[in-house]
Symmetry: C2
Subunit: 189 residues, 2 copies
């Protein structure tokens, strides 16, 4: 595993090496001619997609056997921390698309990890609550989830790990409003 994941550094490094130094400090991304593969490989958009792939792969690997996705983990965690939220506010708490969360909740309910009950005050709303089974699952899977986070940053130098979190946090915060599902901490009603 570890050996395998280190096998092809050299080959990949051919194109994925440290960002090219450019003479002028001005444009981070070069001119207009037909995009070359090298350009593609240094585009943040491409790199972020790769990071997401890696994140998902590690989660799947570490949490195999729990029948849980990272998305479901986030939802479950937020429901436990916010008993009786409704779907819309939950989606804001974890920056999910409102259209997507319905299916996620349905699967969580089908597995017996959450309950959806009609709200008394507002008949449009379904309140969400974690079940004992859901709590137990969350407890059991937590070590694996932590391993995912550690393994994700493990290949970076220790000081780079903190930097990575800082930069990603800044990115998410400063771009919060451009996403279709912006994060809202205080889910005001």
């Amino acid at each position: 595993m570890a050996a395998g994941s280190r096998a092809s550094f050299g080959r990949v490094a051919v194109a994925l090496c440290i960002p090219h130094r450019r003479r002028n400090p001005a444009p981070l991304f070069p001119a207009s001619p037909p995009p070359r593969m090298d350009d593609l490989y240094t585009m943040p958009g491409h790199l972020i997609r790769r990071a997401q792939q890696i994140s998902t792969a590690l989660f799947t690997e570490e949490c195999a056997g729990f029948d849980l996705t990272s998305v479901q983990f986030a939802a479950l965690t937020a429901i436990k921390a916010n008993p009786d939220v409704d779907a819309t506010r939950l989606s804001a708490l974890i920056a999910f698309d409102r259209s997507t969360i319905g299916d996620v909740l349905e699967r969580l309910e089908a597995k017996g990890w959450i309950l959806r009950s009609a709200s008394q005050g507002d008949r449009r709303v379904k309140l969400l609550r974690i079940t004992p089974a859901g709590s137990k699952l969350l407890r059991d899977v937590l070590p694996a989830v932590k391993r995912v986070q550690e393994r994700l940053l493990a290949p970076l130098a220790p000081e780079d790990r903190v930097t990575m979190i800082r930069l990603l946090t800044g990115l998410a915060e400063l771009h919060n409003e451009v996403t279709p599902a912006p994060l809202r901490i205080a889910a005001q009603r």
Copy 2:
């Protein structure tokens, strides 16, 4: 737009602030008790998902009117740079899942941007080639795609932009083998 995207820094910053300083430098991720929202918000996995959301949103916004996704852009770019690749090697060049790329190619073909022709030597293989319409599209959309990359990193400090690319590149390279679709530069036959 710009004003809107800066409207809620304070609120979001409540939970998405600079990573907490911990007394011991040891564990980057804390102990075992029930995960709190704050933990979730600093998990690299969560932050990477947010970054992907942002990247997609910016691409959609900048490239609206081209009827093109970021995935399709990457495929088209790679096909242009590697005439007569087949689907399997293409997927390795841009780190796509082999199961996914079939549909992507079908859509590209339906829009008249690529051609799929049977290989003479190997009757299993379909060779891929960009059409003039595809080349024109790529030329036309390139400025928008560059704007996406610039806007993605724009909110970071200039020195942080380079760091971000360096760290993401390292992450992708060092974790290359854990993904289901590892990147292969030299698509050896």
